[in-house]
């Protein structure tokens, strides 16, 4: 390992005189061994982005290159854990250094002491290649399939039964160990054999999503909204109720109290699909807004790599990030300290390409071991001033397939989820409606059309009403307004704090069907000459 010295420091970036570094190589900086990453190389010096607080760092302190990029450790024991942006276990940090993160130190995300029961599925003489399954471990409720890492060859010996990650799981001919876990560079997508178009729905339990703007497994959606419009509550509701195997939730530059609340809630609540504790299917990555800004930039990569790892075992994984804007701001802050030429609103010009290559990590794939796994993404965006023309929202729109627009005026009226039903869209709706028609009810698509129609009619009737007054409207139009109100309050609105927080597709269907049928019957009575009150009364 080579050592050098710090030449200069400016905010989170440090220049060093170390020779022979590679771009994006991981570096230990200073006496405190702060983690950094090489972001620029020049003949005379290298520039390092430090993931931790640089206060107190001095010129002349030593710097060491590690010869490898920033990685995460992948192996059994990640589920149920809570990590910072560099995959350090926050719970263990609390036990070792108290409630405040004062000293940063190297800590691994995996517990190397924990005992597991390993059932091998290969035998001596088998040829192992990258991504092949060597055996399984029961990790909570999940079968954790151990996959072959970059070490490949013919199996000479394979362990079985009680084992910890500290021990070799086997040996290749030639003496190379088969490890139980491996490291993977966070900025490199994990390989797969083949990608498929997303055609099966991801049921979120949120009626407005499942019914009007459905999301597909392997798809990506953004949910932008000003503050107080309910982004976090929405993401958390989805994290609780979505029909997936594993949820990876990233609190990226958000509030500490909210995370504390989320953890407590995940410990208490159960997954409506499997009736197991929510915590037992969730991986949390938390980098609150007051934690170092560069680690915030890395946090979404750390999280998505763990998500891909479980996808590679053939699981359906949902990746939730709250919020992508904080990640983009971290990127901007780092870019500024590198004195790069700024683009729109000071963001670096590579913002859009970084975002799109990140979002492309979602998808349904055939993994290297022939299983089918999916990684879906729901990403919240916090546009400054609630203005959707800003660069982060716009860049996301180009690569995501669904757009759930949060509306400040709905939020002020306490209509939650405050998703605007006119502006939002889902490009998956066409493919998925077939699935819903087949699996839930044949009239799904027709009801969806009617629901949209009534909402549209209400909008135009409302414009007329603003001129002539409600009394001046025809009875049929007033009926539309009443029915639309029912759709808005009873169907689209969903209280996240009540039993209604989760609505499976059959409940969604029953609700909308009863409202649409109610409208049709009342409209029929109106035609036969009944007054509006009579027409509606027959229904109560």
């Amino acid at each position: 390992m080579q050592t050098g010295k710090i030449l200069g420091i400016s905010g989170p970036t440090v220049s060093v005189d170390l020779k022979g570094l590679k771009l994006y190589e991981r570096v230990f900086v200073g006496h405190g061994l702060l983690t950094g990453e090489v972001v620029r190389l020049e003949r005379s010096h290298a520039v390092i982005q430090v993931y931790e607080e640089t206060r107190g760092l001095g010129v002349g302190e030593p710097v060491k290159g590690l010869g490898m990029p920033l990685t995460v450790r992948l192996g059994p024991g990640l589920i149920g854990g809570m990590y910072d942006g560099l995959q350090r276990p926050l719970e263990r940090m609390r036990k070792e250094m108290g409630p405040f993160i004062r000293v940063w130190k190297e800590m691994y995300g995996l517990d190397y002491m924990k005992r597991w029961d390993f059932i091998p599925s290969v035998k001596p003489g088998d040829e192992l290649q990258y991504g092949m399954i060597i055996g399984e471990i029961q990790e909570g409720a999940f079968k954790h399939y151990l996959m072959c890492g970059s070490e490949q060859g013919t199996v000479a010996r394979i362990a079985s039964g009680d084992i910890s990650l500290d021990e070799p799981f086997g040996e290749f001919t030639g003496g190379l160990e088969i490890p139980g876990c491996h490291e993977w560079p966070v900025r490199m997508p994990r390989p797969y054999r083949k990608k498929f178009a997303p055609v099966t729905p991801l049921v979120t339990g949120q009626r407005i999503i499942d019914f009007l703007f459905p999301l597909a497994r392997g798809g990506a959606a953004i949910i932008p909204g000003g503050f107080g419009t309910g982004k976090t509550i929405f993401e958390q509701s989805v994290a609780k109720f979505a029909d997936v195997d594993i949820v990876v939730y990233v609190g990226c530059g958000e509030r500490g109290n909210e995370m504390a609340d989320l953890i407590a809630e995940f410990d208490e609540l159960e997954d409506p699909w499997t009736k197991r504790r929510l915590r037992d299917r969730t991986i949390l990555v938390v980098n609150t807004s007051n934690m170092p800004v560069a680690a915030r930039e890395a946090s979404i990569y750390t999280a998505v790599t763990m998500a891909e790892y479980y996808r590679d075992m053939g699981y359906n994984v949902l990746f939730l990030a709250d919020s992508l804007s904080r990640w983009a701001e971290a990127l901007r802050e780092i870019s500024t300290s590198l004195e790069e030429m700024p683009g729109e609103e000071g963001y670096p010009t590579y913002l859009a390409s970084r975002l799109s290559s990140f979002i492309e990590r979602a998808g349904v794939v055939e993994t290297m071991n022939g299983r089918i796994g999916s990684l879906s993404m729901i990403l919240s965006v916090s546009p400054p001033g609630g203005d959707f023309t800003e660069p982060v929202t716009q860049a996301c729109l180009r690569t995501t397939g669904a757009f759930f627009m949060l509306d400040t005026s709905l939020a002020h009226r306490r209509h939650f989820p405050a998703i605007n039903w006119f502006q939002s869209y889902s490009l998956y709706a066409g493919d998925l409606s077939e699935h819903y028609c087949r699996e839930v009810a044949p009239e799904w698509e027709e009801l969806r059309r009617r629901c949209n129609q009534i909402l549209q009619q209400e909008e135009s009737v409302r414009e007329v009403a603003e001129i002539v007054g409600i009394e001046g409207l025809q009875d049929a139009d007033r009926l539309v307004m009443r029915v639309a109100e029912r759709i808005r309050t009873e169907f689209l609105g969903q209280n996240a704090y009540s039993d209604d927080a989760f609505s499976p597709p059959d409940k969604t269907l029953v609700l909308i069907r009863s409202i649409v049928e109610y409208h049709d019957r009342a409209a029929e009575r109106l035609k036969q000459g009944a007054t509006l009150d009579e027409a509606m009364k027959g229904e109560q």
Binding site: P99, G228, N257, D387
Partner: protein, 442 residues
């Protein structure tokens, strides 16, 4: 680490609050520097940036009187720390931690770094204990809980300081045996405002600590004072198990100071000239509110933000709203109608309300009552627009009570005047009013 002081007389450039010092050995980022001027006056400074042997130093006070030839710069090899002791309660300091009340500085029991350290999210306790402020718009509709940060968004000319004073006088914790210690940070305050707050603090029975930076005092101190205040608050809360209420007024002056310093540093400006890192910087203050598992104390924060041009999308209220757990918005329209306190409940929000209310905390019907009040008031406000176009005669019979309810709600429920209401009284008043206008509560 050098473990010794080094003194230099090698200043090469002076620009505003910034000094470039040449040929410095082994400086550290954030190191405290003492600048002694030719006339013997001295001021503290901090190392901002290091490029080889050239060090950029930022002076906390004024740089008037600093010259290139004779001024000395001493690098102390220490990070800025705050002296702490329980004796700090009852004291008033300026923005550089010098006593403003004439008494000498206490003997510190311990020193803690000014910038604090991020709280481990895994160590935070879920905020859940109700705080009764006596204001219906807050207690009933946007409940404050222990460990929350809830800013007050005001406009120039609105009575934000009266609202703060009301809360200072009336805030009570649910546990009867505990009471608040107030840490008060005044940033860029005019003398007129300061004397108002001083009267309020004097009247209070509970203890307080104040950090006061007046409108004519150094701008750099505006960045320091809230950090002193929060370090003191964390110490009292987490080491001495007290419940601390931190009031910072006015965050708009803080952000303007941040912009001024950032421009002097020749940093790339972001939206409206504020630096791109303002979100992280504000978060480093606001996020210090909270509670810790297995400890009794808490830091609750009520910052005041004056929205420039009454614009809630201005970067200062915007970024604040993204970090804090809700906001209490004051409205000019209500103020003009004579509603006091003029809280507009529609854009106001408390994100932690859900955890602080309900059976065993406030009342079982709290959430439901609040939801109905919101619903009818929002409806009534919508109908007002319609009324302006079609007139009262064009409205349906069903709509009229809602319209009248909205007016009565503003005058009677929100506009409670100087009287303190318990949360029971607040909720009952709401129920009575809905009943009066025959509005159904399901």
């Amino acid at each position: 680490m050098r473990l010794s002081e080094h003194t230099y007389r090698t200043i090469s450039t002076i620009a505003g609050p910034l000094l470039f010092v040449k040929r410095v050995q082994a400086a550290r980022i954030g190191e405290v520097v003492r600048v002694v001027m030719p006339d013997g006056r001295s001021t503290d400074a901090e190392v901002l940036e290091i490029d080889g042997e050239t060090v950029l130093v930022e002076v906390y006070g004024t740089t008037q009187g600093v010259d290139i030839e004779k001024t000395t710069v001493t690098f102390t090899d220490a990070i800025k720390k705050v002296p702490l002791s329980p004796e700090i309660i009852g004291r008033i300091f300026n923005g550089s931690f010098l006593p403003k009340d004439g008494a000498p500085l206490f003997i510190p029991e311990k020193w803690m770094p000014l910038t604090g350290a991020p709280m481990n999210p895994a160590a935070r306790a879920r905020p859940a204990d109700f705080i009764e402020t006596g204001i219906t718009a807050i207690d009933g509709l946007n409940t404050l809980v222990r460990g929350q940060k809830l800013p007050i968004f005001s406009c120039a000319g609105l009575p934000s300081k009266e609202v703060v004073a009301f809360i200072l006088r009336n805030a009570r914790l649910a546990q009867a045996d505990r009471s608040f210690v107030v840490v008060f940070a005044a940033l860029g305050l005019t003398f007129h405002e300061y004397s108002f707050y001083q009267r309020v603090l004097d009247e209070m029975r509970t203890g307080f600590v104040a950090f006061v930076n007046m409108a004519d005092e150094p701008v750099m101190e505006r960045l320091l004072a809230p950090r002193f205040a929060l370090t003191v608050a964390e110490y009292l809360a987490f080491e001495k198990n007290m419940d601390v209420l931190v009031i910072i007024t006015d965050m708009t002056n803080y952000c303007d100071a941040l912009r001024e310093i950032s421009t002097a540093r020749e940093e790339l400006p972001g939206r409206r000239g504020y630096p791109g890192y303002m979100y992280s910087d504000l978060a480093s203050l606001y996020e210090r509110a909270g509670r810790i598992r297995d400890r009794d104390g808490s830091v609750t924060m009520l910052p005041v933000v004056t929205m420039p041009e009454d614009d809630i999308t201005h970067p200062i209220p915007d970024l604040t709203g993204y970090i804090t757990e809700g906001q209490i918005v004051l409205s000019r329209e209500l103020h003009q109608k004579g509603v006091s306190p003029p809280v507009d409940v529609l854009p106001s929000l408390s994100r932690l309300m859900q955890k602080g209310i309900g059976e065993g905390r406030t009342r079982a019907d709290h959430r439901n009552t609040a939801n109905h009040l919101y619903k009818y008031y929002a409806k009534g406000r919508d109908l007002r627009r319609l009324e302006a176009i079609v007139g009262r005669d064009g409205m349906t019979k069903a709509d009229l009570p809602m319209l009248d309810f909205a007016d009565a709600f503003e005058q009677e429920i929100i506009g409670q005047g100087a009287a303190r209401r318990t949360v029971q009284e607040s909720l009952d008043a709401g129920l009575v009013l809905m009943k009066k206008y025959s509005l159904e509560v399901k």
